[in-house]
């Protein structure tokens, strides 16, 4: 299936949780915030939120800024 990940198409095998997606991407869940179809997720929701075909995911973190 195809999802939109940070604005670009991204292929994944099938439906998976946010936690599984982060593991696959080798991203530390403690360092990021996630928006799933325009809804900002609480960290505690990562294991139970399922990503499906066509979903839009934004993964952000902190970078240098003023």
């Amino acid at each position: 299936m195809t999802i939109t990940l940070n604005g670009d198409p991204y292929e994944v095998g099938g439906p998976l949780s946010i936690t599984e997606l982060l593991t696959k991407l080798e991203i530390d869940a403690r360092r990021v915030a996630i928006e799933h179809n325009l809804v900002v997720l609480r960290r505690t929701m990562f294991p139970d939120t399922v990503v499906r075909d066509g979903d839009r995911i934004e993964i952000v973190n902190f970078v240098g800024g003023g």
Binding site: L5, N6, G7, D8, Y10, L25, E26, I27, D28, R31, V32, A33, I34, E35, L38, V40, L41, R42, R43, E58, I59, V60, N61, F62, V63, G64, G65, G66
Partner: protein, 258 residues
């Protein structure tokens, strides 16, 4: 008695807030932060680079037990974008504080004040502690305060310009009007600009480029720490009135040969 800054019930002993952008290297940033004595540090919220995960995270270099992180909404041009970014920042940092920016113009980076006021209102309703970056306009600052802003952060000059406080009189009026802390945010170029902000009665100064862009950022960070402290002390001490003519400091009596 310590001279503490209190914003939304949280106290800070330093009145200097610094950014994390534009440093030549993370190690220079860490040393500059140390030298600045700042306790509050701004960060931006951006997409993770999915294709290149090799880069280290900014948080690898910031001791969050020592520094309080203030996520910004830099680069947002609508209230909607800023609110979305603020929510993401809250989840990434686990604090409900936000430096709210809603930019209205790309070249000057001046704020869109109408959208800023609206975003402030909505974020306060959502439980955020909102510190808005605003124009140096006393009426806008008052409206932000009415919308629930925890502080007002007028610009001294355009972001990154280093021009110093351009409208000293407005800043004085904002000081007089504000019941919330006044933080001068943006435009500082050198230590005297920071001192002037504090002498005018600002409760704090927020800067990034003035330190990160200096030839020696660590030395400039220390200069800014001292400048903010000096300006604060001068403000509290109460300066003498300005006069057009001289008033002698030495006695006029007892002069030799008269």
């Amino acid at each position: 008695m310590p001279d503490l800054l209190t914003i939304a019930g949280k106290t800070f002993s330093s009145r200097l807030m610094v950014g994390t952008g534009k440093y030549a290297s993370p190690s220079v940033m860490v040393k500059a932060h140390e030298a600045s004595g700042a306790e509050m540090i701004t960060v931006a919220v951006r997409r993770v680079n999915i294709s290149d995960r090799s880069k280290e995270s900014l948080l690898d270099y910031i001791d969050t037990t020592k520094y309080f992180l203030l996520p910004n909404t830099a680069g947002c041009y609508t209230a909607e974008e800023a609110i979305r970014t603020a929510h993401l920042g809250r989840e990434a940092g686990l604090s409900n504080w936000v430096k709210l920016e809603v930019i209205g113009d790309e070249r000057t980076l001046f704020p869109d004040n109408a959208a800023l006021i609206e975003a402030t209102r909505l974020l306060v309703r959502d439980g955020f502690v909102v510190l808005p970056y605003t124009s140096d306009d006393p009426v806008v600052c008052r409206k932000l305060e009415d919308a629930g802003a925890a502080a007002v952060m007028p610009l001294g000059a355009p972001i990154g310009s280093g021009l110093g406080i351009q409208n000293v009189n407005n800043m004085r009026i904002i000081r007089e009007f504000s019941r919330v802390p006044l933080i001068v945010d943006a435009g500082v170029g050198t230590a005297s600009d920071a001192s002037l902000a504090m002498e005018l009665g600002a409760d704090g100064v927020l800067m990034n480029t003035a330190i990160a862009g200096a030839q020696d950022p660590v030395a400039m960070a220390e200069a800014m720490k001292l400048a903010v402290r000096a300006g604060r002390l001068a403000y509290l001490a109460g300066r003498i009135p300005r006069k057009a003519y001289a008033t002698a400091s030495s006695p006029l009596e007892g002069l030799v040969g008269r």
